[in-house]
Symmetry: C2
Subunit: 256 residues, 2 copies
């Protein structure tokens, strides 16, 4: 049965999308059967893998219309770089209002993903910033939570906030495991980044990852090139950091 | 009557809070009467000016309770560095559900700000990422819109999205002016940042600002120090960039 990994943070611009796309690619490259679910109206993950924006898959599956209910089976609507994709984009807004009208909004995605769990080894979920209905749905639907933490000013404050929210959600998703808090955009030259990295390492309850993803221009360029950084710039520090991160995540996934 | 300036972007982590706090301070330093309204549940702007998180002011003013309605007058609940503050934080979530229950949710903030317009020269509104009910309320309540644009991968896509949304909102806020799109976190060493800066400059309909705010560690450190960068590191490049930006914004505010 698939491991379902939600990538979430309340804070914006911390690297959720970069993490989702690059991990999905690396797991697929290892031979795992992978699905990338883009829950963001901005559809950045969808763009990052060279696909047209949409969000229609989720919108029609959550539609209150009864005819739609019978074919309300969530299916991938794209394929890229060796993994399946359920695309994000504008139509996700329709899914948001559909979900808010259900009797128990927070478990809608979990139900929709159930039939897909048998088909994949890993389902990676990219979420929007601010812990709204989509992020809550993702966390409630998942077996594991991965929290990117930017090593800059506001990010450590935001970490406690998402950990508190997750605590409350253990009530409806008791099997959820905190896979880790991943230090993102680490600037090895600045004292502030080193200080925040150390502060994160001291927060054991946040399951900090030892391997930061350093700030590396290839990671940002790979987004514009619409490719995983491993393909765009395989010898870059960014590509190396993601491979080291994958190793540590795999260890945790196997033992935990 | 106050100029009400909404600082908004769908994309996360582009520098909305850094812009809101540093501009509020510089305008107050010029002798203007300034109010900073923090609409974010994360309350980063509130932390940035050394205040306790709250959000209660907005929550109680939007409460459906009739007794609260009679004293539903929005007032500053803090003062820092020469300007008034209406603090953000967890309680803003209560305001969100209160607002969603009103007959016309998008004009709630505009009504609440009306009595304050006579008391201030400038009201600066910091908003959360994703264009939800709070961001829409801010844009509908404002005379001017300032859009920070990060010179990195996904940011230029997001710019068209917020400009489209703003276009639709001109219907209920016909006097709204686009004050500008501000290039943020410009990395002068990378080709990608220069390329995106040029691309932004070619988008005249986005009213691009010529003066980018460069990526500068003092700006991030100032957040942790809970001070405007002009006080924290007055001779830093970050402090200089914000002062140059203020000059250009003042020109536009006087002519436009
Ligand atoms: N390690 C890194 N080094 C350099 N640039 C990065 C790095 N990680 C991400 N970026 C770039 O920084 C920007 C923000 O990252 P990203 O979009 O992944 O964050 P996000 O958390 O998904 O944002 P949002 O909250 O808006 O969804 C993007 O342009 C991305 O390409
Ligand atoms: N020009 C800059 N140089 C360096 N760091 C910056 C700069 N501008 C902002 N920062 C830092 O980058 C991080 C993100 O900026 P900020 O919080 O202002 O963005 P935001 O758009 O308000 O984010 P959110 O979408 O989560 O509200 C913060 O830690 C901030 O201190
Ligand atoms: Mg994203
Ligand atoms: Mg902010």
């Amino acid at each position: 049965q698939a491991k379902i990994i939600a990538i979430a943070s309340e804070k914006g611009g911390v690297g959720k999308t970069a993490l989702a796309v690059n991990l999905a690619y690396l797991w697929a490259k290892e031979g795992l059967s992978v699905l990338l679910l883009d829950l963001d109206t901005q559809g950045n993950a969808t763009r990052h893998v060279g696909q047209e924006l949409s969000g229609e898959a989720l919108e029609s599956c959550t539609s209150p219309d009864h005819r739609a209910k019978n074919d309300a089976v969530l299916q991938p609507d794209a394929h890229a770089f060796g993994f399946d994709v359920i695309r994000g984009g504008r139509y996700i807004l329709g899914a948001v209002s559909n979900i808010q009208q259900k009797r128990v909004p927070s478990i809608v995605l979990r139900k929709l993903l159930r039939p897909l769990k048998a088909r994949y080894d890993v389902i990676v979920i990219d979420t929007p910033p601010t812990l709204g209905v989509l992020s809550i749905n993702a966390i409630v639907a998942s077996s594991h939570l991965l929290i990117p933490v930017q090593l800059e000013g506001a990010a450590l404050d935001g970490l406690d906030a998402i950990l508190e929210t997750t605590e409350e959600l253990l009530d409806i998703n008791p099997d959820l495991e905190l896979l880790g808090s991943v230090p993102m955009m680490h600037d090895r030259r600045t004292a502030i980044s080193k200080m925040l990295l150390q502060r994160l390492k001291d927060m054991d309850y946040a399951a900090p990852i030892d391997v930061p993803i350093g700030r590396n221009v290839s990671i940002a360029e790979a987004y514009l090139a619409e490719e995983p950084v491993e393909l765009y710039a395989p010898s870059s520090q960014g590509a190396k950091d993601f491979k080291r991160l994958l190793k540590q995540l795999n260890q945790r996934l196997l033992h935990v």
